[in-house]
């Protein structure tokens, strides 16, 4: 039985009762939902699988085009945590200042010990979102959860350059090909941010997202406080598989778990 996970361009996939498009759709699984392949491929695309639907384990068929091999358990947990928050934010339609979504932002602040309730608009909560996903994923105890991305970006770069263990290591864009569960970081607002600046500073304005899927020519990410919600973005890859130096990107944090 092969360990698989949903990986779809449309953020999830239909699963079916039989190996054909004409069969019943018995459910929808979100990005990163785990599956086990239970037998050989049927026809040109259908994989018999076992997975969880509505809290129950069920047998189903899924197209080979919407699954990928699973990566390590901690990486899968991190991606699932990011996706779960995106689903809580109604797939990016829920806005931070509306009920019940502001309560979720309040949970992010509470997780890092900040006395904010989610209605404190003006406090950027993107790093709190990342920290919440890390906490939910479990297994990343050494990660510097914080209200500012700069804290953990600095930590990851310092660790990598010193060769010390850590759940994330920071790289320049040209040094590491991004993978599922990594974190991509970019400058924000009127502030510049560079790898070298992040190496020597832990207090600067930044933004980071979690990579939830990797294609031939781009990666997809989920991030908090993007458009005042949890939202997906894409970043282009060059022919060698490295992130293009666009969209003000300056570092990629490799998930070592």
């Amino acid at each position: 039985m092969t360990d698989l996970a949903i990986s779809s361009k449309v953020y999830g996939a239909n699963v079916r009762s039989a190996p054909s498009f004409g069969s019943n759709v018995i459910g929808f699984l979100p990005e990163a939902a785990p599956l086990k392949q239970t037998g050989p491929k049927q026809g040109d695309r259908w994989l018999p699988c076992r997975g969880e639907l509505d809290g129950m384990t069920k047998d189903m068929f899924v197209s080979k085009n919407v699954v990928r091999d699973r990566v390590s358990a901690p990486k899968e947990r991190l991606v699932r945590a990011a996706v779960a928050e995106w689903l809580r934010f109604d797939r990016g339609a829920g806005k931070e200042h509306q009920a019940p979504f502001h309560k979720f932002v309040g949970e992010y602040w509470s997780n890092i010990g900040m006395d904010l309730d989610g209605l404190d608009r003006g406090w950027p909560w993107s790093a709190a979102y990342i920290s919440f996903c890390i906490e939910t994923a479990t297994g990343y105890g050494d990660f510097k959860q914080a209200a500012a991305h700069a804290r953990y970006v600095h930590q990851a770069i310092k660790r990598r350059e010193a060769g010390t263990n850590g759940s994330f290591w920071g790289f320049r864009l040209s040094e590491h090909k991004p993978a599922i569960g990594d974190i991509v970081c970019m400058a924000r607002g009127n502030f510049s941010a560079t790898y070298d600046h992040a190496k020597s500073n832990n207090a600067f304005s930044s933004h980071c997202d979690i990579i939830v899927s990797v294609r031939d020519d781009h990666v997809s990410t989920l991030g908090g406080n993007v458009g005042h919600t949890v939202k997906r973005k894409t970043f282009g890859l060059n022919n060698a598989g490295f992130l293009k130096k666009t969209q003000r990107l300056y570092a990629v944090l490799r998930n070592n778990k």
Binding site: W123, S126, A147, A148, R188, N190, F191, S205, V226
Partner: protein
Amino acid sequence: MIVRVGLFCIVGALLAAAFVVLLVPEPVVRAEIDSEEACPAALIGRVESAAIRARPYLVSRRVGVLESGDVAYLCEDRGNWVGVIAPLAKGGCAAALLAPDEPMSELCLPGWILRAQVTFAAG
């Protein structure tokens, strides 16, 4: 005569420059990028109080004061200075911080603070 006129022009230019530096405020630019707030939060933390100035110069007019622990929003980076928006009442300035096209209300105080006087808090 020509020397006098020249001197007059130089003095006039210096006075005009001094007027601008001392009195005319320099706007703090808010620029929303990727639909995120352009002005992440910062705490005033390293000194007892921090003067907010109209322009990024020590000799510029002081337009306000933030006490230690107060929150301002960093919008611009200018060497030793940061352009901030200080909310004068809790939540009163949120709209201007979130949407750069929104006019700043009387509850927003824009200005410039020495970078060394702020501690970056979130964003």
